[in-house]
Amino acid sequence: MLRLEGVAAGYGRTLALADVSLDVRQGELVSLIGANGAGKSTTLKTISGLLKPSAGRITWDGAEIGGLSPREILARGIAHCPEGRRVFPHLTVRENLEMGALLRRDRAAVATDLDAMCDRFPRLRERLAQAAGTLSGGEQQMLAIARALMSRPRLVMFDEPSLGLAPSLVEQVFQIVREIRANGTTVLMVEQNAMAALRLCDRAFLLETGHVVQAGTGAELLASPDVRAAYLGGA
């Protein structure tokens, strides 16, 4: 459903992506792995429209979406849960969730979804009227995930959802990602924790300095000597 072909992009004159080709199929959980600065976050930002591709094609259901605004991309069903959670600290938890559903016009269904999010994340219900900045790191991550889902995306992209969380919470976050996919939403995930990401995903792409250097199923990349040497702490 999503396909990148030879995509290049960058910030000003620095090119962060040189040649990225990858695809995500309906219902899959796909991981992007690679070292710091390999271009993982930049890839997501280019897909969600925060950055304009300087070369290559991005297609969604066969239609070109490269260069569209973030609003247009979101309206087409792609949500981006950014790195570092990025909840709006001075908005309440409820306002944060409503921001996620900003483009939706079905107010009644939005209210139902908000309620469902609170069922899934009971801590959020307790804190609905509280400023999001007062939440703990784990709670903020749950809020960021719930906010991204409030747009009812067909594809949701997570950028480092486990970053900076305690180990018990990391496992919880991955469990949530698994559930989201099980509920029929396609997932594209960027993760530093390559081992966990490869175990979780159907397929994965390995990025190095702005290039996709390996692709395959999670199991294939887990078994690859290069991947093991570089990212999984040796064979």
Partner: protein
Amino acid sequence: MDQLLQHLVNGTVLGGTYALLGIGLTLIFGVMRVVNFTHGELYAFGAYMTYAFVSLLGVNFYLALALATLAGVALGAALELVLLRRMRRADIDSVMLVMIGASLVLQNAEMWAWGGVAKLIPNPFAGSPLVLGPVSVLPLRLFVLGVSAALLLGFWLMLDRTRAGVAMRATFQDPETAALMGVRVGWVNTATFAIGSGLAAAAGALLGPVFMVSPTMGDLVGLKAFAIVILGGLGSLPGATLGGFALGFVEEFAGGYLSTEYRDAFGFLLIILVLALKPQGLVPAKERIG
């Protein structure tokens, strides 16, 4: 005691319009990181538009105030679209220089259009003060206070209760993530500058009939708007409201008890004191709306 009450009333009237000015300026800074040197000129523009509508076109006084405010909104939107939109990636110094240039153009345009002689705006209120016990206040001033309070309340309700207001605050806090939620950040910037300018024009339209209207009236007011914003803490809306009333009271009390000639100076003395003792302003960053 009677005198104290009288100063309190006067200070509140003045403070209300100062709060309008300050909120407009701090909103623009908070959302756009633009130091808006045209703010004082928008104030003068609001006053002159009121004069034009009332004295030249014979429009009803209340309608003229509304039209002058809307004209300020329109001028603000035009400034954003023509100048600021194309400077989004420019550094803050270049933007400041452009805004200083724009304020010079606006001020001289006023001079050219209206001449250097101060104008009076006729108003429908009685010239004799209302006497309420020990305090006497001109009906026009009470009206100014009422409208300022209504505008402040309306603006706060818009920010707090409406979807557009929530989107605006979200953009204030994190423009990139707001864009990911589908906010048109460019339009939020235009709306912010237009609303901020409209509040300045409204303050000018309200105070124009109280004082006189002259082409340089924006100079001192522009400075005071910065003083109010710095007093309250840059980018803080509650701070700007507080700063506006603080400046109003200080000017009124110092003008009344110490020296009438130096009343404007006392306000700036207060700024120097606040900057020396509490440089982050009266409302610390944590409590800001942004």
